[in-house]
């Protein structure tokens, strides 16, 4: 194993960097999508709630590998051949990020909806009765409490999304799994290579979990 790591360590670590980059882009946009769609699913407006419901169920009902193929191959094909807009291409990073953002965003929306709904309705009523507008109350009172309860689920979702980046090896993005496949193809040392890859994922995920614990402790309400 040490031999493999000495020889292929640098490219595997670079690949892990690519994995993290993809996850970071995906998660960043997923958070934005999740927040918007999550809030849409709790407001009064029926259109917003309907849109959120359809979005979440659509994404949840389609395997991510299908979503990845659809975005990477389907969308450019649609633009070029059907809409006749020439030259539309997506890089694997772009398509992968969109795919992760949509997929993770839908699950984040559900987490955020549940988090907002877990805050006692009395908190909103008290804020409104003082004269605070809906969005202000959301921002100052509801979301800070909701986010606190959501942190374990959000971190869990981050971990799932980080692992889901491996699915994007199918569209040729040079992330860790894709790279490891190439290493195995040229060395035939599959036990050692996949062992190293597993350990690399494990280390990153353990670090993420540790950061989550620290964050959770920081967010306790205490009089200081």
């Amino acid at each position: 194993m040490a031999q493999i790591f000495n020889k292929y360590g640098p490219i595997l670590i670079t690949a892990m960097g690519q994995t993290l980059l993809l996850a970071l882009y995906g998660l960043f946009f997923a958070c934005i999508i999740g927040l918007i769609v999550g809030i849409m699913s709790v407001v009064k407006n029926k259109f917003c709630r309907g849109f959120a419901l359809v979005f979440v169920n659509l994404i949840r009902g389609v395997p991510m590998i299908v979503l990845a193929y659809f975005i990477f191959f389907g969308i450019p094909f649609f633009c070029n051949s059907i809409l006749k807009i020439g030259g539309v291409t997506l890089t694997a990073l772009q398509a992968g990020s969109i795919c992760l953002a949509l997929n993770c965003g839908a699950y984040m929306a559900e987490i955020i909806r549940a988090g907002i709904q877990s805050v006692d309705i009395g908190q909103m009523e008290a804020a409104r009765s003082l004269g605070l507008p809906y969005w202000r109350a959301m921002q100052r009172v509801i979301l800070p409490q909701a986010i606190r309860t959501m942190i374990p689920s959000i971190i869990n979702q981050f971990i799932i999304t980080l692992k889901d980046t491996s699915i994007l090896s199918v569209i040729g993005f040079p992330e860790l799994v894709n790279t490891a496949k190439n290493v195995v193809a040229s060395t035939f040392l599959s036990f050692q290579t996949w062992g190293i890859v597993a350990i690399m994922y494990l280390i990153v995920i353990l670090l993420l979990q540790w950061a989550a614990k620290v964050l959770e402790r920081k967010l306790k309400y205490e009089s200081k």
């Binding site: 009395g122 908190q123 008290a126 009089s223």
Partner: protein, 246 residues
Amino acid sequence: MNPNNVKIKVENLKKDFGRLNVLQGVSTEIYEGEVVVVIGPSGSGKSTFLRCLNRLEEVTEGRVIIDGQDITDPKTDINKLRERVGMVFQHFNLFNNMNVLRNLMLAPVDLKQCGKEEAKERALAMLERVGLQDKIKAFPHQLSGGQKQRVAIARSLCMKPDIMLFDEPTSALDPEMVGEVLDVMKELAREGMTMVVVTHEMGFAREVANRVMFIADGVILEEGTPEEVFDNPQNPRTRDFLNKVL
């Protein structure tokens, strides 16, 4: 009480929840400085009535006019109006993510009623009034029920309201804490605050209410001074209710 100044005028107020007709035509006038105690069986619509007064519930039919302003009119700036109508809830509803001082300062500062300095001064003055000036740094979960409710009252008062609505403010408290909350409310009443109080504390009603209102079946079945309603109720339903609670 100033009978020349109608503070709240309720005209044929109706409220449905789907097919359930909770309020079926409530009309009354509440005067400046008046203390009205609302009593009635559970589920009779007391909370709903109170919540229609600051539009926490959308009114189905009828009008609620506060200081000449129809609050059921969609053009009314309801947030502006709510700044002047404080509300105290059965379950306190202190903001759990903030300490006591920030609970009190949030609305005045956020709504630009005053600057941070003045909001803090106000908050400290109000906390002193309810006897909790030493709790400014405490979070809600560190307070007893009675303390939470006194903070909630102080929080409302920080907006300088001229009407206060109380929805069973002592119902969720241990018996030994009821007194401290009622004392704060009595003090407010004495200072001339217009108050509408839903409560089962008949002693409080007798002591400070100008008027007792008995609500059942979605209408005001009987109203009058505490003596009239408690000592000589006219409606059999009122008599029946009072027999059960007294």
